[in-house]
Symmetry: C2
Amino acid sequence: MLNNILIVGCGLIGSSILRGSISKKISKNIYVFEKSKRNISFVKKINKKIKFLNDLDHQVSNMDLIVLSTHMSQYKNIIKKLQRYISSRNIVTDTGSTKRNIEKLIGKNKRLKEIFVLSHPIAGSEMSGPKFGNKNLFKDKWCIILKSKNKSSKKLKIIEKFWKKLGSKTIFMNSVDHDKIFSITSHLPHLIAYNLVKTAIDFQKKNKKNIIKYSAGGLRDFSRTAASNEIMWRDIFFENKDNIIDSINIFIKNLNNFKRLIKKESNKSILNILKDSKKVRRQIIELKQDVSKPNFGRDIF
Amino acid sequence: MLNNILIVGCGLIGSSILRGSISKKISKNIYVFEKSKRNISFVKKINKKIKFLNDLDHQVSNMDLIVLSTHMSQYKNIIKKLQRYISSRNIVTDTGSTKRNIEKLIGKNKRLKEIFVLSHPIAGSEMSGPKFGNKNLFKDKWCIILKSKNKSSKKLKIIEKFWKKLGSKTIFMNSVDHDKIFSITSHLPHLIAYNLVKTAIDFQKKNKKNIIKYSAGGLRDFSRTAASNEIMWRDIFFENKDNIIDSINIFIKNLNNFKRLIKKESNKSILNILKDSKKVRRQIIELKQDVSKPNFGRDIF
């Protein structure tokens, strides 16, 4: 059990870590630093023992573990503040969706490099804010822990233990691989969802027809993904833009190829593409990354 | 109550119509024409009173209502067979996802035009086959009924009543509007889902990394859509290709624009796009086209 944990930013992710930490007795004392008054008043209701910091001041030096769960665009200021008070007895981890940019922020500062062990829990939802947080948000989900050459194995183990206590399955990865992989499995899908919904909005405006009500045939699923927090996703799109632009280009190439195939009605090629993706669905379900129920079990008959 | 109804093709949709028709006592006798032996033996278990036709022969002339729920690529042969026996006392409807092509099949044949009232229930799932059929599949879902100038209002009313009995909300539309609207709300989303999964497969092959296990951050939702029946979707992509190609082009234009915006980090424009799509999500939920639960209520905490 840790003595002091500090959660910086208490939205969906931060408040889920908070709840999980209380439930799993991860730390004797739990501190929160949160700017939004609305969020603070909500978090106060979760547990009376939570302590609130008014600033990232000298008190942070007492924290065994500091978890950043703000939007990534706030990291720069936060790291600047933390830098004044933290030493090698502290560990800082985070929850951001891209990692190369955070490594760059830490830069070549030897002390910071020692203190920071970055991580990325693959969990969330389209809803934002502490209201939707849940102590089991990370249960059975992957959490990527960022490994680099000179990282202290002791600190890595503490972070690994932390996420495992919250229920995650952990895996180590370097930031270059991480940012490439998630540009495909997460950033591109979100970007596509946003642009598909935009395409529907454009169509609706141009044709003056209300088409949203016919979204049950496919669009509605994308609209869920496209309802995710806009600040979080702007940050991801900007911070991982090189990988994301590569992904968009590969995807557009596939789309153009598909367009050619339907134009000339290439039966066999089209069927192969359609059948292959069914295999991926089976893998995803076998890997317990999704529920197997038709329609996500959404239709209650 | 009808005397005789014939369901041609008894997969997910046909067997759901069958179950709904039994439950809502839509017809005294229910006939099924189905080629797959496996499906037949499954359907037999649903109800002992179901009668099976071995062919689309003279018996079809006794049917008050014939519902086509096969893949659209089989319509041509079916219509050819039906044509021999049906007269203006019969009504034929269907469940295909594109309509202009079916109208073309019926062509200028006056008798066929009189007998056919096309429809499109906006319901389904990624699972195929009668095993996954459900009597409530159409409940509270839209069903589009195709209206054209000389369609008998009596026949239109019978079809409207039929879908309402199965629980659908009905709306009339012409085939040109229908095929345009659903190219955006349904065909494009499916096509994109297939191509996104293909992009992930390509990446996996090229980089020799198993990325599917990290699909929880977005890809998994698309994989559900991309697990839909490949014959059905090939038919849709081929039959509505002009509208679909238009939709792909608009979508690619949006993607390229988005790419430019993230390249130059256009904060305001990106945030506007991301925020607008959240409004669409709210509309979809207000219109009861989706559940409001975070993550489709998929995570059971």
